[in-house]
Amino acid sequence: MRREVPLIITAVVGVIFVIQYFIPHAPFNQFNSWFSDWFAIIGACAIWLGALNLMRISADKIYRRRSGWGYAAIIIASFLLIATIGFAGGSQFRDPGTGFDWLYTWVYSPLSATMFALLAFFVASASYRAFRARNLEATLLLLAAFFVMIGRVPVGDAIGSFIHLPESLMPSKITIWIMGFINSAGQRAIMIGIALGIVSTSLRIILGIERSYLGGD
């Protein structure tokens, strides 16, 4: 019951979802959108498990006075704050002017955007450290990055016309060429490879060969 039933479910559902693509007849044409709805509902149920886990681990930290328990308290407090405001707000909870919207605009968004913006710094430090012409592969990586970087800003072409480069060798032109041809080729190879890997992995899952996601008995 604990292992066999799930394996059968996976196999049957897997096959149905493959063949639905070829069958325009009802109900097969509906499966795709049904699944997206179902998954949305399952996910919304499952987030309770995650939220409870977060609360439990944080509460445990506070209870045992582990290092940084004060920050665990902030996690619980901010979670409860937004959840309370959200649920108190009813179905109009995120309309402009509500507390939820305020938290979204002035707390959530700036935090998100700043975390995202940290990437600017990390991109710089990563390229400073990693882009060294150690061997041929690393040199190619470096050169491609270099050309695309200067080709994507007006400064690149300004330098190009300053040293009288012919039109076809302008950094922006080289960038377009690299992006349009070499990059397309590399992306394509990677994409086809990934697709084959995904087909194979999915097939192993449907056949029940890859079953570790089910855990033990």
């Binding site: 795709n32 959108s33 997206s36 709805d37 949305a40 968004s109 998100s112 955007a113 995202f116 600017a120 710094f121 991109v123 710089a124 430090s125 390229s127 400073y128 450290r129 882009f131 060294r132 012409a133 150690r134 470096l142 990055a145 270099f146 970087m149 200067i150 994507r152 800003v153 007006p154 400064v155 072409d157 300004a158 302008m170 922006s172 377009i176 992006m179 349009g180 990059n183 397309s184 992306q187 394509r188 994409m191």
Partner: protein, 331 residues
């Protein structure tokens, strides 16, 4: 801990000083701007010499320079030339060549986190459509997308040449809002828009909106522009709307995503692409109206130069280091 508190204190003092003492806004004259650039260059040369002597700079120095390179150009007055690349020109041409009254579907598939790159595109795209009397249909596959659309729309509508046209919501443009379901939304729109968007954001039924009277599915859309920052986004639009329903699609992407779009661009599945902030700036150039993206391009160029400078420094040090090593081994 003590050190941290000291630093926080210093920061508070600086902020207070800025608020109380510094005149606002700050604008550097061109001479001062070039002087600052010179100083930064000197600092870089200093770092370069130190690195050659074997003192590698730490991450924090790199961070500091990136910060400076992004912030200082805000106050500078320097003009830089911008060239329009073909994929950007295609978006412009495909849109500008539409007959007045043609319907353009603009999907907003991003959130505020990607706004710095995509918002300028949205603004200048709306402006272009409205100037050419195209009818705009707005929708979003990301929950916060339509809010971003409204922000961009307000800016485009406030443009003096567009105010004159006295455009009306529901007749010249309409916002259908957000719908959950990712690519399935696109798929269902392939047969009927109405099933996915029974009402617009104001709650007016689909059938009562004059603009949408003859719009049933993608076959009634003359061009579509998708602003995307990830999933669901341009890839899904291509896979469903373009491949299955033959929609003509152009896209504005974040710089990261844009690389992945080139295969589609070459395969002709995508008609035009604005990639990242430079794509936005080029588009502003193509439309002949410079805006936020062009203003952002200066810090952009600066920070690029800084990153390239550090790559060069790192490589020079690496090569000289190798040479030293080889010399030692010979001895």
């Amino acid at each position: 801990m003590k050190q941290d508190l000291l630093l926080f204190g210093a920061l508070i003092v600086i902020v207070a000083m800025i608020f109380l003492l510094v005149p606002k806004p700050i604008v550097f004259s061109t001479t001062v701007s070039y002087l600052i650039i010179g100083l930064i260059l000197l600092a870089l040369i200093f770092i370069f010499i130190r690195t050659i002597n074997g003192h590698f700079v730490g991450r924090r120095i790199v961070f500091l320079f990136v910060g400076i390179a992004v912030v200082l150009p805000f106050f500078m007055k320097i003009h830089q030339p911008i060239r329009v690349s073909p994929e950007v020109q295609t978006v412009y041409d495909s849109t500008a060549q539409l007959k007045p009254g043609s319907k353009v579907l603009v999907s907003f598939d991003y959130d505020p986190a990607s706004a710095p790159e995509l918002q300028p595109m949205a603004e200048s795209y709306f402006r272009l459509c409205l100037e050419h009397d195209l009818k705009i249909i707005i929708m979003g596959l990301w929950p916060q997308g339509p809010q971003q659309a409204e922000l961009a729309l307000q800016i485009a509508l406030a443009d003096s040449s567009i105010v004159k046209k006295k455009l009306e919501r529901g007749i010249d443009y309409v916002d259908l809002g957000f719908q959950t379901g990712n690519e399935f939304v696109i798929q269902r729109m392939g047969t009927d828009f109405r099933t996915m968007f029974p009402r617009d954001t104001r709650g007016i039924p689909y059938d009562s909106i004059p603009l949408l009277r003859d719009v049933r599915n993608f076959s009634n859309i003359d061009y579509s522009f998708n602003l995307s920052a990830g999933y669901p986004g341009t890839v899904e639009w291509i896979q469903v709307a373009v491949d299955r329903y033959g929609l003509k699609l152009g896209a504005g992407n974040t710089g990261v995503q844009a690389t992945g779009m080139y295969p589609y661009l070459r395969a002709g599945q995508l008609k035009g692409l604005l990639g990242g902030l430079s794509g936005a700036a080029e588009f502003e150039r193509a439309t002949g109206k410079e805006g936020t993206a062009t203003f952002y391009m200066l810090p952009q160029s600066f920070s690029h130069v800084i990153v390239i400078a550090f790559i060069l420094i790192g490589n020079a040090a690496f090569f000289l280091g190798e040479k030293n090593k080889a010399r030692k081994e010979q001895k």
